[in-house]
């Protein structure tokens, strides 16, 4: 039983990263119905930005604000940087294509993803970069035989804070209502006086910003980053969003955590090699029996 608990924590840690990236993903996806393949690479760009900040800027920042401050500063700056990158990507690659529908936008997103991936390789070099070791002290706790590190706890807490914050903005504020309205139908929302451009601006800033923060967190937790990691995480985020139900932002959170746990179950109790096969099989079964994801709303087909 003890092992199961520890594996559960491992699963949750993996899941919290998926949830965080899926959140940023479903912000864009929920409202614009755009499968933003570039989101994974914006996430990777975030981790590289965090890397540069921590390596070059860290001496200056940590001396003034201490270690925790350095970490927070890196995340904030990365979030702002990637938020701006998200807006630029939307402006150049997506805005001119909205009238042509969704399929060309997917090709454009793929183009941006390939471009960003290689831009990172050209800028930072093809080598694997490593986050500095002393960023977070590796303190290990042992509660009833279960090993959990300080960083694991910080990451879990931070993810849940961000998720709660986003949930509050989306579900409880009027601006959140505007976002949800434009998610359902952009044209009608515009008719109701919602300024769609600000909504799009906010989404393409906040979504990638969340992705950038997650990038820094992954960099700090695993300490190793590569220019190709964006692609895998992007695919996992898309899977989590669908699992949770399209357009349902809390759903993305649940979907991400569940995805982490499914991976853990597959890897621990079946075989690590067949892990992803197991995860995709579950996803397909979920969609066959609940063709709109776990929390997605039933949309009756009006005839």
């Amino acid at each position: 039983m003890r092992i199961f608990l520890e594996q559960m924590i491992n699963g949750l840690t993996i899941g919290s990263f998926y949830a965080l990236i899926a959140l940023g993903y479903s912000m864009v996806y929920g409202v614009m119905k755009l499968i933003n393949f570039a989101h994974g690479d914006l996430f990777a760009l975030g981790s590289y930005l965090g890397f540069s900040l921590l390596v070059w800027g860290s001496a200056y920042v940590t001396s003034h604000v201490g270690l925790a401050g350095g970490m927070i500063a890196a995340m904030l700056i990365a979030a702002i940087g990637i938020g701006m990158a998200g807006i630029i990507v939307e402006r150049i690659a997506y805005r001119p294509i909205y009238p042509a529908g969704r399929l060309p936008a997917v090709v454009s997103a793929l183009g941006v993803s390939i471009f960003l991936q290689n831009a990172i390789m050209v800028a930072w070099g093809p080598r694997y970069q490593a986050y500095p070791v002393n960023v977070v002290p590796t303190v290990r706790f042992e509660i009833g035989g279960i090993h959990i590190t300080l960083l694991q706890i910080i990451i879990l807490i931070l993810s849940f804070i961000l998720l709660a914050l986003l949930y509050y903005i989306i579900q409880k504020t009027t601006f959140g209502a505007a976002i949800r309205a434009s998610a359902l139908d952009r044209d009608t929302a515009a008719l109701m006086g919602i300024n769609i451009n600000t909504v799009i601006f906010f989404i393409f800033a906040l979504g990638p910003a969340l992705g950038g923060t997650a990038g820094v967190m992954v960099g700090m937790y695993y300490r190793q980053i590569s220019f190709t990691m964006g692609w895998n995480y992007g695919l996992k985020a898309f899977t989590a969003t669908i699992l949770g139900g399209i357009g349902n932002i809390p759903g993305a959170m649940v979907g991400g955590l569940l995805l982490g746990i499914f991976e853990m179950l597959g890897s621990a109790y079946i075989s690590t090699a067949y892990k992803d096969v197991f995860v995709f099989l579950i996803l397909i079964l979920v969609l066959i029996f609940r063709p709109r994801g776990l929390l997605g709303e039933k949309v009756a087909e009006k005839v």
């Binding site: 092992i3 520890e6 594996q7 491992n10 699963g11 840690t13 993996i14 990263f17 390789m121 070099g125 093809p126 080598r127 694997y128 490593a130 070791v133 590796t138 290990r140 090993h147 590190t149 992954v218 695993y222 300490r223 190793q224 590569s226 190709t228 990691m229 895998n232 991976e263 853990m264 890897s267 621990a268 075989s271 690590t272 090699a273 892990k275 992803d276």
Partner: protein, 388 residues
Amino acid sequence: MKSIKYLLVISLLVLALGISSLGVMAADKPPVVIGLQGPITGAWAYEGEMAKQSCEIAAQLINEKGGILGGRMIEIRIADDACEPKAGALAAMKLISQKDVVASVSTYGSSVCEPASNLYEKFKKVNIAYGATAVRLTERGLKYFFRTCGIDSAQGIFFADYVPRVFGAKRIAIMHDNTTFALGVAEETKKALQPKIDAGEVEIVYYDAITPGEKDFSVPLTKLRETNPDVFYFTGYYPEAALIVSQARDIGIECPFVGGNAAINDEFVKIAGIEKAKGCFMTQEPMPAELPYPESKTFLDAYKAKYGEIPSSPWPVYAADALNIIAYAIDKTGSTDSDVLAEYLRNEVNAVPGVTGSIGFTEKGDREGVPYLMYVVSEEGTFDIYNK
């Protein structure tokens, strides 16, 4: 509007044909051109980059000594295969169809080397692999295929003999990442351990694969910890190896960690951090830094002078040796004909001093006498031969 579209299509067709004729008229230039096929782009771009740099240094050293065949300089022609089978076949054909390319150093990945070597064989071009260690590549009786790197079975045999004897390990955990190379080493090690398993001296308590490119291995490692192994052998590549070691130490796996010859290098130490990397072992052919031979010293000094640091994995240095041995064979036989070269390389070449030690080829084209050593990562992160 319509006419622009048709013009576009016609220009596309003409462009394609124009470029293709370019390939036909490459004139024959005095220098001896040797091809280098490697993953210049893609996930293994870093390995490709180091291989390119190593070959350039090797060529530079030969040219400084007056070149070969009475003053003809060595020139390298690169073909990128992005470590992908289809691109591998295309890159090989690109080098083959350029008549001035005499032979080629080809390539890093085993499953890319397979289609490429088939093409080199059909068009009678000597090709020497520097990173493809899959045993089967030399089982196919190819006449023009050689390799300067070792093969998986040699490493497996070394592990199976050394670890139970020296470490006294009874319970062995083996983890690979389902790539051609890592699975090859893991399978060969299991085969080599079989007699000891049958005799009951040794037991494989864990044998599974992780997915390359992932970051979080806490789940399989927790499973592995429960089998409390005496030794943990990871046969994959250094990016995953570094993550595995640090996560293993985090969740309390204290047994000695042994990496395959692609698992541990400077990158591994940088990513895992020194206090987790020190004390890790590695079944490894002689590392570039440790090569005691005079040729390796001059090569590494020249490399460091030009690029600021020595290559962080053994494969690029094998690429340099592949180029050296081709140049050596051309110089000694005085001809660039593939059959003459293949004949010479297979029979006459033995114990030729090279950057990675003495070079010689077995009947099947494998590298002769590649000594495997057990290295250990020291306190300062250097690699010392473990001679207990």
